[in-house]
Symmetry: C2
């Protein structure tokens, strides 16, 4: 992996990330392919919307189809016919979000499969092995993510585990890379909830271990927007200039722009595709309810100048009809549009950074975009 | 509309059908787009699988989005971004298949919407007007379809209505074509259940009225295969050589080949897409259950030499995974494959007719294809 900042504008950065499956231009939005599929889309469509890297989920893929199947296919890339880059998350977030099924201990997590109820033990070594077998271009450390309302004590415990597991993750990957003469990359994850001092403490520890890139985890998990922005800024300031910075699980257009301003390079979120399937489209003016009755005779695209397949070929009237009639094409067209919207947003942000006009771009975008 | 038989081979015919939205090479399979969408597919994908004409449904489109919306869009073609041909069925089949909600009288049908329970009256004039407004390249007469187990008396009543309604349909379209200086085409429909004499009687009446093409309705509605094949052959023999012949609601590969042998030119059926969504793929060896556990590590396409997008890009192992994980891409890939399979079947049949080898092609296909 190679990374450099091509141009800065304030704290915002336009970077180049060279990975085994091609160049990634940052800031970048990564569509989420939880179960080896970015919901509703083909790999051709992902290329068409300009995706340079997608996110896979170690926890889900480990359970189904299983790492053995992915190994036989050669890699997750082969399995799902995606020849560009894949970043996998470690399963740490699932430890949090599916926590009713899980028991967290210092040496790892015992969890019950949400599919068949079977029990599994996962620890840093196991998580890294899974991600390694998947063939991820970027592997994430196994971490413990705390909810937005976690108290200091719980958060402190979590960062202690996260730090310990980060070291174990690094050692596990170094061993695997050495054994197989490969060089898959590893990102460290910084936890610490909404506690500034714990975030700084965790950042220092993770930086001391040393990784190819750094992620801010444990945000967009129920905390306030103020907390999210403050912590993003705080941690970002403490991260080295020459490594990529990834804000996990964010997000929506306004959060992405604020984070880019704080110096973040990478984003992922299921919100774009999930809200698409629920009938909500992003537009430059804010969200649009695609079931709204006045769309029934609007023979214009979701967004007039949008270059996505949905907007170039279909009208609001038709897409509304598809949603009302419960036709699957509705989910596809809205997903394509929303993903393209976010990818285009990062592309425009990048361009504005290179031109030294990020602040103007952000202000101009937010002056039109109604946050709801 | 223009139609001619390019080449015959026994009773099988390779024809050219010139319609307002392009040439259709017959025999042809028409994918079904009930609600202004061929389920799961985009119009780009329909072109990619070689569809030259699709079927729309007057009954469904009239109820949702409504003819007023289609008229504002210009045509169903514009509305759904499909620039090739559309044949609409008249609603006659829905009179039969949704019969609990309907009351059939000599002057038309009163039916209750399956969407909101509202009452509507439809008669031949109304049906033709709807199809005319939709902009269908081929309009079907309003008819009464009887179930596979209908007795003689019920069937006799139905063909009397069908004959009366056919004349009314023709007059209605002639009026509309004249008023608007257009020339949309109209096909007559022959009913008569499994009663040879009633079929012949109905055929004569419908031929006497005179249409651009002739359809055999009321088959594939619960009768035996023997009855279906016998009636298809019987009616087909009585149809004029120089007009296209359409067997409605058929079908599966073996039925399509038998009907081509009997001189049928056009087919439609929802079975290909419905079974795809249920996880069943057509292959040259018969049906394949895409959820079957031994597919989990089969890193080969559904069918080795298939030229469809699914087979060129994805493996059985991946598609099985998508079905198990309930991912929408599964439904898309299986639908693309099954539609391409049937369209390819008619393309190959056409080629064999032109080469004077239809019988050999049919025998060879059926010797491999396991009917289940």
């Amino acid at each position: 992996m190679e990374f450099y900042v091509e141009k800065s504008c304030g704290k915002a950065r336009a970077g180049i990330l060279k990975l085994p499956h091609g160049i990634v231009h940052t800031p970048v939005f990564m569509p989420v392919g939880t179960q080896a599929s970015v919901k509703t889309l083909s790999s051709e469509e992902l290329i068409d919307i300009g995706a340079e890297i997608i996110l896979g989920n170690a926890y889900h893929i480990y359970l189904r189809p299983g790492t053995d199947v992915i190994k036989l296919a050669g890699s997750l890339h082969n399995f799902m016919n995606w020849n560009r880059n894949i970043l996998t998350d470690s399963g740490g977030f699932q430890v949090f979000s599916l926590s009713e099924l899980n028991k967290i201990k210092d040496d790892g997590v015992i969890f019950q499969s949400h599919i068949d109820g079977s029990y599994h033990h996962i620890n840093p070594e196991k998580s890294i092995e899974i991600q390694y077998d998947i063939g991820a271009d970027i592997i994430m450390c196994f971490d413990q993510c705390t909810p937005g309302d976690a108290d200091r004590k719980e958060t402190l415990n979590a960062i202690k585990r996260t730090e310990k597991w980060a070291l174990q993750s690094k050692e596990a990957l170094e061993r695997l890379n050495k054994e197989n003469n490969k060089k898959q990359s590893l990102f460290g994850i910084i936890q610490g909830g909404i506690y500034d001092d714990l975030r700084i403490k965790c950042t220092e520890k993770i930086l001391n271990i040393g990784f190819d890139g750094y992620a801010i985890g444990g945000l967009s998990v129920g905390e306030s927007k103020e907390d999210m922005y403050r912590i993003t800024n705080l941690v970002s300031e403490h991260l080295p200039f020459d490594k990529p910075r990834y804000l996990m699980g964010v997000g929506v257009p306004e959060d992405i722009l604020n984070a880019i301003e704080a110096g973040i390079d990478m984003f992922d979120c299921v919100f774009a595709t999930r809200s698409a399937r629920n009938g909500t489209a992003f537009t430059r003016y804010g969200k649009l309810n695609l079931r709204r009755s006045d769309l029934a005779t609007q023979f214009e695209p979701i967004e007039k100048d949008c270059d996505c397949y949905a907007c170039k070929n279909y009208t609001r009237a038709y897409i509304r009809h598809l949603f009302k009639a419960k036709e699957i094409l509705a989910l596809r067209l809205a997903s394509i549009h929303n993903l393209r919207f976010l990818i285009k947003l990062t592309e425009m942000a990048r361009k504005s950074i290179i031109e030294g006009k990020f602040q103007e771009f952000k202000n101009s975008f937010l002056s039109e975009y109604k946050i709801s």
